[in-house]
Amino acid sequence: MWEYSEKVQEYFYNPKNAGVMENASGIGDVGAISCGDALRLMIKVDPATDTITDARFQTFGCGSAIASSSALTELIIGKTIAEALTLTNQDIADFLGGLPPEKMHCSVMGYEALRAAVANYRGEAWEDDHEEGALVCKCFGVDEGMIERAVRMNGLTTLEQVTHFTKAGGSCATCIEGIEEVLVKTNAAMVAEGLLDAAEAFDPDQAARPVRRPKAGKSPLAIKLEPVSKPKLTNLQRIRLIEEAIEGLRPFLRQDGGDCELIDVEGDRVMVKLSGACVGCQMASITVNGVQERLIEKLGQPLRVIPV
């Protein structure tokens, strides 16, 4: 089961602006039935101001495709075409409180539908920049040709570089094996054509070697046994930190009708005065413990808080 945000669910169960628009100013049809997603975006534009006054959608697709389409219409209504075109697929995803990585392509579809609808309104022919070819990264809709071009044009030789240039493999990562294959093939061809030094070509064996962790310097057990230590503080610094921490807690104590005041610090003993509702409250010991925990966290040193 996908983990859809509340907002995705809301926009799926009760989509806004769904349905057909009569006399639309522009229509964008994107997606394809074979991919399982298809979207028709219809916009109404006020020619005087170039403002999108209304938008409707029809979507064939999963929950997040329907939610993304609906979100798109909400985002563009009231915007000028120029403003609307600055929206990215990430804006759609953000509007929905995020999408599962494997579902990011649903927001990409919205992004492209908007461009197609605007092109249609302006009487231009809209051409998407995808080519036919095996889709490698399904999350971002990156095909083999696109990876190959990026590798060739920029002389890429690692998986990380391919992800940075094309986004491929940057989401669910299930296509890494496929990307590496294209990388090996393309690099080999580049070496053969004299475009790349053989020593620099992507080497899957090298990539498979274990990555060493930087040495922690200590046994993992030691970390648990020793108190968390921070750089040594002067007495004055310590007292200031303790004061700050207590000040930070006071508003919460006051909400409950109590208060807490710092009296003195001796070594690791912190003397405090509880007042108001804190005095004689059955929760007093919990309050003291809470203050103590807060101070330990803040100073990174063991301390005892003693009510006086």
Binding site: G36, C62, C172
Partner: protein, 404 residues
């Protein structure tokens, strides 16, 4: 409201009687069956009983023909890799295009990295195997033919007894992935020529993480997992005693309920299927209705997408599954439906309802009540659908989106 669970081909609820049988083996009888003391001995006895219970369900001739594994996938991998390893001269594998990924992904890997030749036998529009193509693919190089007993998505049955005989005529071993068949169909392995069979506990009200590979006596086997001498050296690793015992109980119960599965459960499935087809236009049954599992219905609803249907069904408290792309995170619809040439507009909207003996009439009523509204709702959102007052789809030319 009580949830309606109709996804039993994905997994089943462990029968409370199986749970009860397992429980003592976590605590009181925790011994290692291999140990030379009383703790081990009592577990050993229980494992023996469990093995016989499973033997009875399979109709196997000997109880030692059963090798416990972690599940169907491990059993499938063991069978095919062993067949290739034991017969060095035979380097080809025959399987079908509609197998489970446990077979298909392994075959893809073998083909790519091990030089194995893989023949993937096609199916027709009803999902029936092209037996003639199967016959032609068999030959002196065939190490093993592996064809599923019943398809997990459509329930379509394959004539495995006959396919096993044909494999033997060519001197090849025959394996069947029977994960969906075991517990739902009467099986009598001793009267067939099937050499190996895979099964999984959680598909028949047993626990997850346990399965078995049946290996007919005399068939040579190379273990996939090497180590200790468990399972007569054919699958190393300390026996998962509680799960094996739970599977034994589940097998006994499945045998006891076999008639119920073939009659009452089948009638529930049929009533649901007919009811849905009556109430919802532009929908049809996929697979071979004449030869299929009694518990499975796979219905394609045109012009809408499966995940959206499942989400709305889930909100109505109904659990089913889909061959749709979106539920798996891939964009392609089920390889099974595509192999059957189900059009994309329908394959994306195929929903599988799979029953078990725990379902009743109320479950069918609930789906029949919820489904028409859900389908109408989603169709109203779909650009491929135009109602025009009489439930007629738009002509194909009306919506031709640019590929993106």
């Amino acid at each position: 409201m009580r949830p309606v669970y109709l996804d039993n081909n994905a997994t089943t609820r462990v029968d409370p009687a199986a749970v009860a049988a397992m429980l003592p083996f976590f605590t009181e009888q925790f011994g290692n069956a291999s140990s030379m003391h009383a703790f081990g001995a009592s577990v050993g006895g229980a494992l023996k009983t469990a093995r016989r219970q499973l033997q009875a369900l399979l109709g196997a001739e000997h109880d030692h023909e059963i090798i416990y594994t972690s599940g169907g996938t491990e059993s499938d991998n063991t069978a095919i890799l062993s067949a290739l390893e034991t017969q060095g001269q035979r380097t080809e594998v025959i399987t079908s295009v509609v197998e489970h990924p446990a077979i298909l992904a392994l075959c893809d890997w073998l083909e790519k990295h091990k030089g194995t030749t893989v023949h993937r036998i096609p199916v027709d529009a009803k999902g029936r195997l092209d037996v003639e193509a199967y016959r032609k693919a068999l030959g002196p190089k065939t190490a093993i033919a592996s064809i599923m007993w019943a398809n997990n998505e459509t329930g379509t049955l394959f004539p495995v007894a006959r396919l096993a005989e044909m494999a033997h005529e060519a001197g090849a071993l025959f394996h069947t992935d029977a994960v969906q068949a075991v517990g739902k169909l009467p099986i009598d392995l001793k009267s067939t020529e099937i050499d190996m069979l895979s099964l999984s506990g959680h598909k028949l009200h047993g626990p997850k993480g346990i399965g078995a590979l049946y290996v007919r006596k005399g068939v040579r086997l190379r273990p996939l997992i090497r180590g200790g001498h468990q399972e007569r050296g054919r699958r190393a690793g300390t026996e998962n005693a509680p799960a094996i015992i739970g599977l034994g109980k589940a097998a006994e119960l499945a045998l006891a309920h076999m008639l119920d599965e073939q009659t009452r459960v089948k009638a529930l499935r049929d009533r649901l299927e007919q009811g849905l087809l009556q109430r919802i236009g532009n929908s049809f049954v996929t697979g071979d209705p004449e030869h299929r599992l009694p518990n499975t219905a796979n219905i394609a609803f045109e012009f809408i997408e499966g995940e959206a249907i499942l989400l709305l069904l889930n909100r109505a408290g109904i659990a089913a599954s889909s061959g749709s792309a979106c539920t798996s995170g891939s964009l392609e619809p089920s390889h099974v439906l595509r192999a059957m040439k189900v059009p994309y507009t329908a394959a994306h909207g195929a929903i599988r309802f799979s029953f078990s003996r725990e379902n009743g009439d109320e479950d069918v009523d609930r789906v029949l009540e919820a489904m028409p509204g859900i389908i109408a709702n989603l169709r109203s959102l779909s650009p491929f659908w135009k109602e025009r007052g009489q439930d007629r789809p738009a002509p194909a030319a009306a919506f031709n989106p640019t590929y993106a």
